[in-house]
Symmetry: C2
């Protein structure tokens, strides 16, 4: 009896020690708080702020972009003379590299900012009639103009506009309760990720290469990225084999794949998915119960002959009722297409087959920031409801739209040709979006030098291109790529002469690199 009591005590002692060991870090933390020791370490520094934030990265507006801006400033101030100007090909920001806004859109918005203009006697000599009508319509429907908070989803009449646009595009009815207007697509993506991700065991499948907002947001929220590689040899296509394998191996590591991100048309890779491929993806999400997140912000940017944008929503509904359990969220934006209205921060997302209880939670999240900005919301309405045929603005609108899209198409062909002319670079003509993503065949010695400097080889290469050719690019490592391969992303937004000039200088720099490092 005595013996067994001793045993019991031993056991408890042991359990207690084990508990201490397992929870040591937490316990020490709590003791530090109780004794007030932790307050000495509370001054915000890199070690005691949100470590998920510290871990996240920022490829697009990163180091090279800052150096480029500094160089441009020196040129503006007359302190630098090696380049006429720095060519910014790092960011899909069309109006920063010469694209003009669509006249109709801006005319309407100017009247909404200052509705008293509508009372001017000569207003019809200043604005086309359909602009005036549209502005009057918006003012009446918005009730309070652009200066008041809207509800959390956005102006109701714009939700109607978006629903109608989606219905017309896809041939299936859309319900306004499922549409949320956002400050650009980015905010919508962040809101959906906040809703889904609970902890590091929640995994989100993202393409590699990908637009880094996805990986950054997952890191920030403490979830886990599950990568699937796009197949460069097949024009950056999506292989179901690759996705299935990665889902399987994620599960074996205890990671629960809950969401799948598809960017179509692709960023940074510019490919446009085939219907068959989209069907496979939906089939997979159906079978595996994975939420499909479709980044469709480049839906107007389709250049390749015979290619056409089709929304995941349409393909899903086309597949029949059996697939009505596939949860889909689709994102769109005013920043891309032929508008390029990045500064207005307008966008929307639509929830498809999402449980209304969950929609209510997303509404709550949206209402925490009151609403998205009203001008951005109105830009969304203008995007989905362009001037009507026969109206006085129609011809100019069509011309502006055609010119922008046609220019983008021509530039994409031009830039692919120019890049393929540079030794060591290889790429195909992008089918859509605003980017080209060439492969760089780097000399071994160059790779070694980069590693010695603790830099990614393609980062070092892009840095050379900035310093010696005056062009800002984003290294492939910022988007992810197969180990041992190197790439960079360039927009084809600047005008042709600028692109030709930049490619010409890049060729010279690359020849120098090859000579030096071979």
């Amino acid at each position: 009896m005595e013996m067994s009591l001793k045993k019991l005590i031993n056991i408890f002692l042991l359990a207690f020690i084990l508990f201490l060991v397992l929870y040591a870090k937490k316990i020490i933390g709590i003791i530090d708080v109780i004794t007030g020791k932790s307050k000495k370490e509370n001054t915000l520094d890199i070690n005691n702020i949100n470590q998920n934030l510290v871990k996240s990265e920022n490829a697009i507006q990163g180091e090279l972009s800052l150096i480029g801006e500094q160089m441009q400033k020196e040129i503006d101030e007359g302190k630098r003379h090696d380049f006429d100007k720095i060519v910014f090909c790092n960011i899909g920001n069309p109006q920063a590299v010469g694209q003009k806004p669509i006249t109709f859109y801006r005319q309407v918005l100017s009247l909404l900012e200052h509705p008293e203009l509508l009372d001017e006697t000569n207003i019809e000599s200043l604005y086309p009639k359909d602009v005036i009508e549209r502005a009057r319509e918006y003012l009446e429907k918005s009730k309070f103009g652009v200066g008041a908070y809207t509800n959390a989803q956005g102006f109701e009449f714009i939700l109607d506009d978006v629903a109608e646009f989606i219905e017309k595009r896809d041939g299936y009815k859309s319900n306004t309760t499922n549409i949320f207007l956002t400050n650009g697509a980015s905010e919508g993506i962040q809101m959906i990720f906040i809703t889904i991700i609970r902890n590091k065991r929640d995994g989100i499948l993202i393409p590699i290469p990908q637009y880094p907002l996805y990986s950054d947001t997952i890191t920030l929220l403490g979830g886990t990225e599950i990568h699937y590689y796009l197949d460069e040899s097949k024009g950056w296509g999506i292989s179901m084999e690759e996705i299935k394998n990665n889902v399987k191996s994620a599960r074996l590591r205890g990671i629960n794949p809950r969401g799948l991100v598809v960017i179509n048309p692709g960023n940074p890779t510019g490919q446009i998915l085939e219907i068959e491929n989209m069907k496979e993806i939906i089939e997979f999400c159906h079978k595996e119960n994975i939420v499909l997140m479709a980044d469709e912000v480049y839906q107007e940017n389709v250049y390749a002959e015979g290619k056409k944008f089709i929304s995941f929503r349409k393909v899903l509904y086309d597949m029949g009722e059996e697939y009505n359990d596939v949860q889909l969220i689709s994102f769109h934006s005013v920043s891309k297409g032929f508008l390029g209205e990045c500064g207005h921060r307008g966008g929307y997302f639509e929830l498809v087959n999402i449980n209304p209880e969950v929609t209510e939670q997303i509404y709550k999240l949206a209402s925490a920031r009151s609403c998205s900005n009203t001008l951005g919301q109105l830009m969304v309405s203008l995007m989905v409801r362009p001037p009507k045929e026969g109206g006085p603005s129609y011809d100019l609108f069509q011309e502006e739209k055609y010119n922008i899209l046609n220019e983008l198409k021509e530039r994409s062909i031009l830039l692919a040709e120019e890049f393929n002319n540079i030794p060591g670079l290889q790429c195909s003509v992008p089918q859509g979006a605003m980017y080209i993503f060439p492969n760089i065949d780097l000399p071994e010695k160059f790779i070694e030098e980069a590693k010695k400097l603790g830099k990614e080889p393609d980062f070092l290469w892009c840095k050379y291109m900035l310093e010696e050719a005056g062009i800002v690019l984003v290294p492939g490592s910022g988007f992810g790529q197969k180990p041992g391969t190197y790439h960079f992303r360039s927009t084809f937004l600047p005008d042709k002469d600028t692109l030709r000039g930049a490619a010409y200088r890049m060729k010279a720099v690359q020849e120098k690199i090859l000579e030096e490092y071979s």
Copy 2:
């Protein structure tokens, strides 16, 4: 020997069992993932999304607001005749209840949306000269107009404008590297909380009552609220005793107090802090190493005689170099003041005494959403740099500004008087901001009925007021209050006749309640 081996095995077995027990939930989760069982439960529902989101609340745009909107719709459609209109006093949204925008601001923005107007020959008959000049200046400085992304902090020239405004206000130099332009103050507050909060042991001190964005954001990020009650008997003043006690007791519970939120002028309570009180708060933050977050969005909304807004930043710098370790973040917005430009979603925050390494991380966070909307940024510039004395817009601007602020002051006095005339309500005249927060003395039987219905008593009271007096209020329980006390928040934004009419109806309803439940 054999005995002790047995013992050892027993011990390991025990340790293993203990491990299983402690980690049971996690282990089962991982097994479910590995076996693919969890995929069946992956369809998004209220139980498997982010539970912090589910826990967070939404008082301002909550249930009553939705009912109110529905009622207004029925009135608009001629289906409802009990009220001429619903009076929305639930949200600080001035332009939704009749406030007109400042002409100068909107004129400038209209030119920025459509700069071609500047080429019209009769432009000077349409716009005052200083509007044209300002628009030209902005277009030149912005380089690409309003359609391009700016850098993550915002247009550099607007950061300059803000720094100059702060310097002029406080008498101490401000550095643009510490200023970030945001989509309203809300986004800034969320960004700072994301940076600071790591887990549930990180506590943020918030006043009770408070603007619920604070509690909601802390809940969403998984941190812990540490409440400090404002003293209603002393005009909702801040008691250091209260703060100190709550910090102490939080530490004893293992919660590390890292941030202190002060709203000045107060929301929902309208008080303006005395300098002495502000000094104590700074002293406390200095001693306890707590980041001070100053919500100063109502800095222009000061009505009480002899009262003046002074920024925490000025008080901090006035206290001398010794206090240069106090970390302060101050928030401002274009939504309040006399602008009320909520829909434009413009705001900024300034970091004071924050480690540059941390600022860099905040920059990264800001760049994830590319930039805040450009029109909102420009509205910030206009707010901090109004038309110049002597210019053609100056007199109208002064008149508009004076009228709005004077009206707000008169309405605050009127509404306090009206509410104090309603039996059971008690309040003092707000010193500032846009809200009044009366105490409701509720009959015991009413409280019991509410509890039977599972509702907060002041929610039920506000619901009566909506249904029978046609006014949308926010119950005190949405902001927090001392247990056993009941309040509501009302804006004083609608015009005087509307407020008088609403108060008249509220009085009748309250008399009915008192009769029925006494």
